[in-house]
Symmetry: C2
Subunit: 214 residues, 2 copies
């Protein structure tokens, strides 16, 4: 198994966490998103992943893309350490929490969007940072409200074992902290983020622990 | 089963298609995203869905959110008409195609983002439309390349029966056409969109067929 990854990529970070939680060994192949105009934009990378985004996951020649699709695949092919609960309604809750990050928060704040705001629309750095904080604020408020409404709160997003939702929450909290957003203002997000940080699987997936960390 | 929906909402449209393909009857409860400042922003709606987005799916009191999580739930609870193939690698491909729409295209072009661009950043209508076309162009090029690379192309995104991927492709093609984007420039997307349009399940889910259509 090979993971085409970039240390700071939120989507790659999610997959690294899931692989670690499941105890699956993989080879990390760094793809630099900034140097040389972005290695992900090169033809050889696009041939593997026409979306020109990281991560790409190579499982014995099957080239898989999109972090959530990769997590579902790992869950189906390596179910021994489950990252989804058993009951359909609970699975739906976990996936919805993950998708608040995957669909509502992260897409509007990733590198290509921020670049377009600055380079094409010509907005100021201050307005760009305010954009970032606005969408994190909207998304974290929603995520926090979902978590606070849990009738049976546990140590993690859903119960006392990590799930997909935690694999998505932690990279997004990391991103927020990089933009000086006070995660403590969201008590459940902060509490769960801290609980995850104590687990070796999350620690080893952290951007600072990657071979391509700068 | 109740679906809180808005006729033009892309995410609600996906769920309507899936419900129809599976032959599941449901009550449509319209939530107007524009009138009265947006009915989705009211406290009673937020109590059901803290993200204040449509759709919300009520299955006998379980309030489910996020269109992809709802589709996975329907697949698990009503497997008779499958919308995912059986093999994990094929399932991963279908989910990745859906997620190109769900994570890379739609989130940056939905109503709240376009409003922020105009109202908060003060960009012109022309620049807003160019933003829309830019991200559709990026995303459709990627989706088209993924579809064109299919070693065994069928009538739909994956083989000869509709899957999650088609449930996501069709509403996005509808959105693109509303912004006068030439979908025919993407031959596989156009071909599959036309094939879907012939199916009653897709026709009945179309915005123009909804009780709240304007």
């Amino acid at each position: 198994m090979k993971l085409y990854t970039y240390f700071r990529s939120s989507a790659a970070y999610r997959v690294r966490i899931a692989l670690n939680l499941k105890g699956l060994a993989y080879e990390a192949v760094p793809v630099h998103l900034v140097k040389q105009g972005g290695e992900h934009l090169r033809d050889d990378y696009r041939a593997m992943n026409p979306s020109a985004l990281v991560p790409t996951f190579d499982d014995d020649g099957a080239m898989l893309t999109q972090s959530m699709a990769i997590l579902e695949y790992l869950e189906e092919t390596h179910p021994a350490v489950p990252l989804l609960p058993a009951a359909p309604r609970e699975r739906a809750r976990v996936r919805a929490l993950a998708q608040i990050v995957a669909c509502d928060i992260h897409p509007v704040n990733n590198l290509r969007i921020l670049r377009y705001l600055v380079r094409t629309l010509g907005i100021s750095d201050d307005a760009k940072n305010e954009w970032y904080r606005h969408w994190i604020g909207e998304g974290f408020a929603a995520l926090e409200a979902h978590l606070a409404a849990d009738p049976a709160p546990g140590r993690f997003c859903h119960g006392d074992a990590p799930t997909f939702a935690d694999c998505f929450l932690v990279p997004q909290a990391y991103n927020a902290q990089r933009f000086n957003i006070d995660v403590e203002a969201y008590p459940n997000i902060a509490r769960i983020n801290d609980a995850c940080a104590e687990l070796p699987a999350f620690f080893a997936a952290h951007p600072a622990q990657q071979p391509d960390a700068e």
